[in-house]
Symmetry: C2
Subunit: 350 residues, 2 copies
């Protein structure tokens, strides 16, 4: 009798393990279609329209029976960085880096110190540096600090800086100031078969130094402003030197251009926070043969972060995209109302 | 007794299914470290130095216990296209496309027909078109046929062309003329956790139309020559228009530049076939902190394909890279000796 039970148990176990075996053999593509527990997955979001719409969207495009189904390889999501994944105040973090580098060089190089844009840096004259459609002064300073360096030298410089610099308001390392709700969106989309890309006005080489560690976004999924490097053989070894040639500004209408250049197909999900992201939102959501999703992070929380839109202190002006959001079906994230928590990590180093 | 046997059988089945279950649960990363049966995987290769070296290389960098171990995400392999994955004779296939498009337009547009490069096309004067370090005439013709079109219009034009055009020597559709041994290398590397990229002097937008179907290489892993597109809203819908701005030639020293732009890290495997691939081979293999592998397809088979190196009929000159191969440790593939089969598919459409 006990043998009979054992037999039945054995058969039952066999069946169960067969089921497990079969489930395990299902490729990731199908596993991704299972719905995770979104309330846990997006745990730092309050219940809000954006969260509900995002979950409904992901469920519909991952469901092979849905008319909206989109195959895994075509699930491309793009994210602005400054103001969308981490703050852009009091100044964009790459500008803080450039300020530090320029300051050090100016103290050793009187000729360099005379340049009007270097003077603007030394006087912390952000108005001059951020003037123009694409912050030309800033770009000039950034380019001056980078050009002539090899890619490896530049990477080391950024890596050294980010290891010791701290944000003036939070007194935390910059790379520990990412938004927890957005980190959750990145993870949620990836667990549903999306490739997540950064598409930022910031320098591609600057972001690639830390994007994988900070966001889990590999270098080849970082699209940013860039100039062409120059290939040389130095002492028998190949090097790529940063130049000012073919400078490409990955902002405004440049964002869809950068996306096409790097990816070659339209994204289906886009998150931004400023008018600089409007073209990317349009490119993702208007006339896309695939069902798409667009959202704007609206900075409404002056206590936990910053509150700004039409008149930001540095970058991040948000007027046109906000005015168009309702018409285009872009979700507007009210940071103060919609986010139960803001920060992904507490400071540890300081 | 029979119950006992059933019990034992049940337990045995349970154990087996448990093993299957566990094996199935091992993530792809680990599965990739198992060595497939390379003699089957690379079945159209004869036993040769390149095949043996490639297999030994992949085994060593995939073995977590090896000093040469390279994590999955960093396994980047780059392949030239024309002459490496498919032929470049009698003319590169994209040139055949441009010839057809130019021919049609010239017959309807007398002004267009007067242009010296259009005249060169109409006279099949490849010498003029392929003159210059980067085949400037060819680039001009290609650009003239593309500029002003939207990306979608261009994609349709390429797609329509490739569906009906045939290679003059083989009388097969161009996209059925890929090299079987190279298709096997692509699959073999991918099954071992590599991301495979095309890095070609050909147009990125041209190749992206068919790269996934023909090679299993998704659009975002195609790096090629390109000019910036222009973002516009037409009739309320976003479009990207092809222009001649910031033309980037992804050839010679441009190849490492294009790789850095798109990927942001050094490849560890590189296959090319001409001096145009030499900088990419250098960038991959010289001074790379990771163990790397480089190889050159040498066209030695005038019966099954073409035989050329120093004096090709169209593109594909191979002098310097061949002379340097032994010193740099690049494997030279003797197409005639090393490949048991050349073609990936037999013609079906004609």
């Amino acid at each position: 009798m006990s043998a009979m039970i054992s037999t039945k148990l054995g058969r039952f176990c066999s069946m169960m393990l067969l089921v497990i075996g079969i489930i395990s053999l299902i490729p990731k593509a199908s596993v991704a279609q299972l719905n995770p527990n979104e309330s846990q997955t997006l745990g730092s979001w309050n219940d809000c329209a954006t969260k509900r719409a995002l979950v409904a969207y992901v469920q519909s495009i991952c469901d092979p029976k849905s008319v909206d189904f989109i195959p895994i390889g075509e699930r491309i999501a793009v994210f602005d960085n400054d103001g969308t994944l981490w703050p852009e105040n009091p100044i964009p973090f790459q500008l803080a880096y450039a300020f530090d580098v320029v300051g050090k060089r100016a103290s050793n190089d009187p000729e360099f110190a005379k340049h009007p844009m270097v003077q603007a840096v030394l006087k912390k004259d952000t108005a001059t540096l951020l003037a123009g459609d694409h912050h030309e002064g800033l770009l000039q300073v950034v380019a001056m600090t980078h050009a002539g360096m090899s890619v490896e030298e530049f990477q080391k410089s950024v890596s050294d800086w980010i290891a010791q610099a701290t944000h003036p308001k939070y007194n935390k390392p910059y790379d520990r100031l990412t938004y927890k709700p957005m980190q959750e969106v990145l993870s949620y989309l990836r667990s549903n078969g999306f490739k997540t890309y950064i598409v930022s006005g910031g320098g591609a080489d600057f972001m690639r130094v830390w994007s994988e560690r900070v966001y889990g976004i590999v270098p080849e999924q970082v699209i940013g402003s860039s100039a062409k490097t120059k290939f040389e053989i130095r002492d028998g070894k190949p090097v790529l030197i940063k130049t000012l040639d073919q400078l490409f500004v990955d902002d405004k209408a440049g964002k869809p251009v950068g996306i096409h250049q790097a990816i070659g197909r339209r994204p289906i999900v886009c998150f931004g926070n400023s008018d600089g992201d409007m073209a990317m939102l349009q490119y993702t959501t208007i006339g896309n043969p695939r069902r798409a999703f667009g959202a704007i992070v609206h900075h409404t929380d002056e206590v936990r972060e910053y509150a700004y839109d039409a008149t930001p202190k540095s970058s991040g002006k948000l007027i046109e995209a906000l005015a168009d959001a309702s018409k285009q079906g872009w979700y507007v994230i009210d940071m103060k109302q919609d986010w139960a928590e803001v920060w992904a990590t507490e400071p540890a180093r300081k």
